[in-house]
Amino acid sequence: MKKLVQTFAVIFIVSFALMFWVQRLNASEGYAGGNTITVYNWGEYIDPDLIKQFEKETGIKVIYETFDSNEAMMVKIRQGGTSYDVAMPSEYAIQKMKEEGLLLKLDQSKLPNLKNIDERFLNLPFDPDNEYSVPYFWGTVGIVYNKKMLGDRTFDSWNDLWADDLKNQILLVDGAREVIGFGLNSLHYSLNDKNKVHLQEAKDKLVKLQPNIKAIVGDEIKMLLVNEEAPIGVIWSGDAADIMWENENLDYVVPEEGSNLWFDNMVIPKTSKNIEGAHKFINFMLDAEVAAQNAEYVGYSTPNKAAMSILPEETVSDERFYPSPELTDRLEVYENLGQDMLSYYNDLYLEFKMHTK
């Protein structure tokens, strides 16, 4: 027993020493002045070759860190322990961060490549005039279905999910806004609807979907759909593109009633110590060729118009991931509902989850 304690003590001391050393090392690099930036991005969301290319072109060293949720990212930026220079939050997180004063204004004169971005994706309600953010990737919420398992069935409407013969066939992603959102969409309401009668109606309708739902899961939904655990899933287009590579039987569709349009964006958090370098990085990522290479690597839809002309024709003309303008008009960006309404959405969602078969 004593030996065990000693061994553990040694392990602890060694790991603390290492941690301290790494932190010192990071600090000495991070604060060394104008030649490093810290980029904080979602996992597997950039072509690593591009980071090397950026380092070579500008002589700025990139420290790259990843997060797996907007909430986790905001907590770390709020605490300010690490001096993040560029981060990639989703649009609703930007509104929150703006309110909390966590973002620095962009100097657009240092971002000449901003002209490459499609006008449709500029000046959006979550950040008018792109004062704080530049779009990085975008996408939709839709239905992934397995052609082999379902035959000729298609999902042009959200209401197709309610079919009687789909008992126990649907996987949902565990997100209040996504689920309540398509409930609202199926009734032709806006997914930013604040009318409690409409919301209640959407919840009641979703409760009726329960027999068809096999499970409500998180990121595992990708693995489960690839493994053909269920033939239908409601997920984000980016994830859909990912898994369609892995399983050729899968197809993706955005139902005609409309859906969510989401953005991940580049911002400069207030923790930045190298604002100049951060602008250089953002401008670099907006370059047509860089954006095209990145889009090809990541597989998400790029908002970069100039990059789209470089990308292969079959990618850009794929209406599943680059929907036609008519459909795009029916897509809505999540608006900040305010704490009270968001709470109400979540309560309804919890109630919906409580109604198990």
Partner: protein, 248 residues
């Protein structure tokens, strides 16, 4: 130790805007949360009962084996592996094309949905908690003086009577601490409810997670946490014992 609990109590009186309120407690007593509380208790009870049913005979057999410390180590070993990893491997095993279903096919039973059912949820939870049930019971059984059993047999008691009148009462402390260590965390399970039960089982833990991470409604999350703490204290008092056997 006390600080976090005081903080939780403090937060439970705040609404989402940080104003003082009692609304969170009112909300807790609505059917949604009461139903959730009931289902949490029900599942925790099932998990504890199944764990006990499996753990007691296992611990008993362990004390009779030759290399009992080695066997014990083998049983404890899985608890060194991260919970998330174990949960993910169970998704693979219980999946439609997983090992469990392949086995059912071989026996001619045919494919069944195992993942996202009550069965898989209870099974995996028991698998995860069972070392904590076995340990205290094993320790209690191990410390049991064998001469008591001999005496009981000499006095003409049958095997069952010996167990009921001698062995079980003498190891009851171990059983109690085992139940505590399993029941209390089982009450607030959250990750497994999503990974293994696919949110088909909703417990208070799920709600706490959602309130803290998604809604950022720390007040409501804390209110549920306060209720969990109170119920834990009540359980500790009910099953309270001065000296606890094994790990606590």
């Amino acid at each position: 130790m006390i600080m976090p609990i005081l903080l939780i109590v403090y937060y439970s009186f705040l609404d989402i805007h940080g104003n003082f309120t009692l609304a969170n407690y009112q909300k807790f007593f609505t059917p949604v949360y009461l139903k959730m509380t009931l289902s949490s208790f029900w599942y925790a009870l099932l998990i504890t009962a199944v764990s006990l049913l499996v753990a007691y005979p296992t611990a008993f057999l362990l004390t009779r084996t030759k290399y009992k410390q080695l066997w014990l180590l083998l049983i404890i070993l899985p608890s060194w592996i991260n919970l998330l990893l174990k949960a993910y491997s169970f998704i693979g095993i219980f999946g439609t094309y997983g090992f469990a279903n392949a086995l059912l096919e071989v026996f001619g039973i045919g494919k069944k949905q195992i993942l996202f059912t009550d069965f898989s949820f209870i099974f995996v939870s028991v698998y995860i908690f069972i070392p904590f049930m076995i340990l205290p019971i094993f320790n209690a059984l191990d410390k049991l003086n064998p001469s008591f059993i001999d005496a009981s047999r000499d006095l003409g008691a049958s095997g069952w009577t010996t167990f009921r009148r001698v062995i079980f009462p003498l190891t009851f402390d171990g059983v109690k601490s085992g139940c505590q260590v399993v029941f209390i965390p089982a009450l607030s399970l959250f990750m497994l409810t999503r990974l293994i039960a696919g949110n088909r089982v909703i417990t208070l833990g799920t709600a706490v997670e959602q309130h803290f991470l998604v809604t950022q409604d720390w007040g409501m999350g804390s209110t549920i946490a306060v209720f969990l703490i109170i119920s834990m204290v009540i359980i500790m008092l009910l099953t309270g014992n001065k000296k606890r056997g094994g790990v606590g």
